[in-house]
């Protein structure tokens, strides 16, 4: 097959946690349950938070913009349902804590569940749209990176004369254990992803386009390759990369596919690369062709701690508890509810937390998975075994950084490049001394940022 390169492309470091994807890899994407209320966070992306553009008691229709910002690095938010604004209040946010959200009461009638699948044919021609049109549509649809980081897609795609883009990588790695939302999208929305890919290429002006998929997703590799064959390839190629965590991290992926390093503290456009997640590509196609804003996404509900698992197409703003309820609720031995996967996901205690544009999965683990024995014990002394250095995909010294933070020596932590840490969790995963390396590093980053702010002000 001409458009598919086999290979063991990889990066140094990384770990091989149990994949646990069998729970949901065969579950087709289903429409989620009807919701009575959604809480749409005004900050779901990296960059400036939105200001609400609706007031209490305003009537809204599905797709109406309810929050926006003038800032360049930002993405508007939209209502996923027809209904009435109940209030604008603080809600639990996965990343930033309590933050403002628009709470919309869904109208009982006139609120059909949104159909997940749109029609895209293989002959899709992106030349009907100008790059500016694509960028504007992406911006208006509020698309933010759906792989997890949530970087506004328009900012990524828009040509920047200082950093000309040459290569577009569509990220279908999904290296996090348990999660299968991207895998299912690649199988079921294949043509939509390819349409989005072409539009992203058009907008960014990239000449080379690579769709990278981990080699444990053979069916997805085949589906994407066949779809490309059907539409003549058009210069897009599919490459299989080695199944290894964190292969889907954009810096690691670029290293594996292009053998290039993104500068420390830099971003991919500095070396002429844009990385876009497959779900984001699908959202781009939907936004540009159908003018539909990003109001729904596929969420994998998985883990041994939830009664039924599956992949659901749900409105952004739906509360985690409702979706878990729809899946039969938590099992008796569930001990941890994670938004995202087990390696980088964030554990939540408040199940009313709403789903955001970046929530790919709800993973519920039992005591057995979180390592009963290992986590029952406290952290023990670092024996300097160096395993964290071996697995660090950014080639850092996690134990030195963590201990510098622990002893409040932040200058030392900075001299070991604490800010270069991507928080992938490989170090904590392998540590035989139970040291919460990522916890220390995250804490150190927050404290450092606070100090810098103080110095600046």
């Amino acid at each position: 097959m001409a458009f598919y390169t086999r290979g063991k492309l990889s990066f140094p470091g990384g770990v091989h946690p149990p994949q646990s994807k069998d729970l949901t890899r065969k579950s087709r994407i289903e429409a989620g349950p009807a919701v009575k209320e959604v809480a749409v966070m005004l900050s779901q992306h990296i960059g400036a938070a939105c200001q609400a553009v609706v007031k209490k008691n305003d009537e809204v229709r599905a797709g109406d913009k309810i929050g926006d910002s003038d800032a360049f690095v930002s993405a508007p938010v939209h209502s996923p349902v027809n209904g009435k604004v109940k209030q604008i209040a603080l809600e639990s946010h996965v990343v930033v804590g309590r933050s403002p959200a628009v709470i919309i009461e869904a109208a009982a009638e006139n609120n059909p569940a949104k159909q997940p699948l749109l029609k895209f044919d293989g002959e899709f021609d992106e030349n009907r749209y100008s790059p500016e049109q694509v960028c504007d549509a992406v911006r208006e649809a509020g698309i933010a990176g759906m792989g997890g980081a949530g970087f506004p897609a328009r900012v990524k795609l828009e040509p920047n004369p200082q950093m000309p883009k040459e290569t577009l990588i569509i990220n279908g790695c999904e290296c996090e254990p348990y999660i299968t939302c991207d895998y299912r999208i690649m199988l079921e929305w294949t043509k939509q992803i390819i349409a989005g890919t072409k539009l992203a290429r058009k907008a960014s002006g990239c000449s080379e386009v690579i769709i990278a998929i981990e080699d444990n997703k053979r069916r997805a590799i085949r589906a994407m390759s066949e779809a490309l064959v059907a539409c003549g390839g058009d210069g897009i190629k599919v490459v299989s990369v080695k199944t290894k965590y964190p292969q889907g991290g954009e810096r690691q992926l670029i290293r594996a596919v292009l053998k290039k390093n993104v500068p420390t503290g830099g971003i991919p456009p500095m070396i002429g690369v844009v990385v876009v997640n497959v779900a984001t590509a699908a959202a781009i196609a939907e936004a540009v062709v159908y003018g539909r804003p990003l109001t729904h996404r596929v969420v994998t509900v998985t883990g041994e701690g939830v009664a039924n698992t599956g992949n659901y197409y749900v409105p952004v703003g739906m509360r985690v508890a409702e979706l878990i309820e729809h899946c039969g609720g938590l099992t008796k031995d569930a001990v941890r509810v994670i938004l995202g996967g087990p390696m980088m996901g964030i554990a939540i205690a408040d199940l009313t937390t709403p789903i955001t544009k970046t929530t790919g999965a709800i993973t519920v683990l039992t005591k057995e998975q979180v390592g009963g024995a290992k986590f029952a014990g406290r952290e023990t002394a670092c024996i300097r075994c160096g395993r964290c250095l071996e697995v660090c995909p950014e080639h850092l010294n996690p134990t030195k950084i963590a201990h510098a933070v622990k002893n409040d020596m932040l200058e030392l932590a900075e001299s070991y490049y604490i800010s270069a840490c991507i928080e992938c969790g490989c170090c904590g995963y392998v540590c035989p001394a139970n040291i919460e390396l990522v916890g220390y590093i995250k804490t150190g980053k927050v404290v450092l940022a606070g100090r810098k702010k103080k110095v600046g002000g």
């Binding site: 390592g371 160096g386 035989p432 916890g439």
Partner: protein, 348 residues
């Protein structure tokens, strides 16, 4: 159900690997050497190894009690004291009186490890600290060798045929010079006899049928244990390889220059404590550098210093001193070998 929900930082899953498992692996890796010690030195091994292990564990417990640790037995669960006890027992002469071994072990744990704050905080390998203490305090006892039970204990086989390197039988019978390295030392002094040693000693040093410290005589047993640790990835290959290669090269240069005075590098690798040191002592993660580059420097340092001591220095054996010396410079190596992030150093 919600009351069971806990939160923590990511990652939420982890490899089922604990410090205890690492240490148990090292103990398993030491089993062949212990078995060889038992085979060649019989009752000495049966007494010394348990004595050192028990005194190591008891000393750690006592130190924890003195430091008013809330749970003084907790730290014993990581088995690191057991490892120190075994390694110290294997690196002393078989006939060392038990009281001396116990005193040495207590010193190793108390001064070598616990005063620094316990596991992970010590600068020097505790077993080597204990051995250095014994060498300095009871020099004569630490130089008194016993021949394996499998050969005629009254008379070393190798010395029986002739006066190798001008050493008289009387000295051999005093049983103070019966190790292969002692022979090589004599050869260096007299610039004669190294070839004789090469001929006779390699097989003995490889199998272990030779005088020497309790657990270091059998190269074969140590290699089996070392390979086990490498396969289990309990240790990295960098340090052992660097130690052995640098020692081999160093000894090889001498051998090529004057094969009458310097014994073959193979004797240097298999004789004395080099293999025990390379696989089990220099690889002690606490006292070795963190980075790969640092490990190479550390290993080359250990190998080269060992050979420097063996060939040029006064002692026939140099593994202990070279490891302690390299332990001392490990923080410097770590500082010198700072990792460069994958994306290069940021221009700040």
């Amino acid at each position: 159900m919600l009351e069971n929900i806990t939160v923590s930082h990511s990652p939420h899953i982890s490899k089922p690997l604990l410090t205890r498992k690492v240490m148990i692996d090292v103990i398993i890796g030491l089993v062949p050497a212990m078995a060889a010690a038992g085979f060649y030195f019989r009752v000495y091994a049966l007494i010394l190894i348990p004595a050192c292990v028990v005194s190591a564990v008891v000393t750690e417990w006592l130190c924890n009690v003195i430091r008013r640790k809330p749970n003084p037995v907790e730290s014993l669960g990581d088995f690191s004291a057991v490892v120190t006890g075994i390694i110290l027992a294997l690196s002393v002469p078989p006939a060392l009186p038990v009281w001396a071994a116990v005193v040495g072990t207590c010193f190793a744990i108390a001064v070598g490890k616990m005063v620094f704050g316990g596991l992970g905080a010590n600068i020097f390998n505790p077993a080597m600290v204990g051995r250095a203490f014994l060498t300095a305090s009871f020099g004569m006892l630490m130089m008194t060798w016993t021949l394996p039970a499998t050969v005629d204990a009254a008379m070393p086989k190798i010395g029986a045929e002739s006066e190798v390197a001008g050493v008289t039988e009387a000295t051999i019978q005093a049983a103070t010079r019966a190790t292969p390295l002692a022979w090589s030392k004599e050869a260096i002094k007299n610039e004669y006899g190294a070839q004789e040693v090469n001929k006779q000693l390699f097989w003995g040093t490889f199998m272990g049928e030779i005088g020497g410290c309790l657990g270091e005589t059998s190269a074969l047993a140590l290699l089996i244990g070392g390979v086990y640790l490498l396969i289990r990835r309990t240790i990295n290959f960098h340090i052992p390889l660097a130690v052995l290669v640098s020692a081999f090269v160093f000894a090889g240069v001498g051998y090529l220059m004057n094969s009458d005075a310097y014994v073959s590098p193979l004797i240097h690798l298999t004789g004395g404590g080099l293999l025990l040191g390379a696989f089990f002592i220099a690889t002690d993660p606490v006292t070795a550098p963190l980075s790969t580059k640092g490990m190479w420097i550390f290993g080359v340092g250990v190998g080269a210093l060992t050979m420097l001591i063996r060939i040029v220095g006064e002692y026939p054996e140099g593994v202990m001193f070279s490891i302690l010396l390299m332990n001392a410079v490990t923080p410097l190596i770590d500082r010198f070998c700072k990792l460069t992030p994958a994306g290069g150093r940021p221009n700040v």
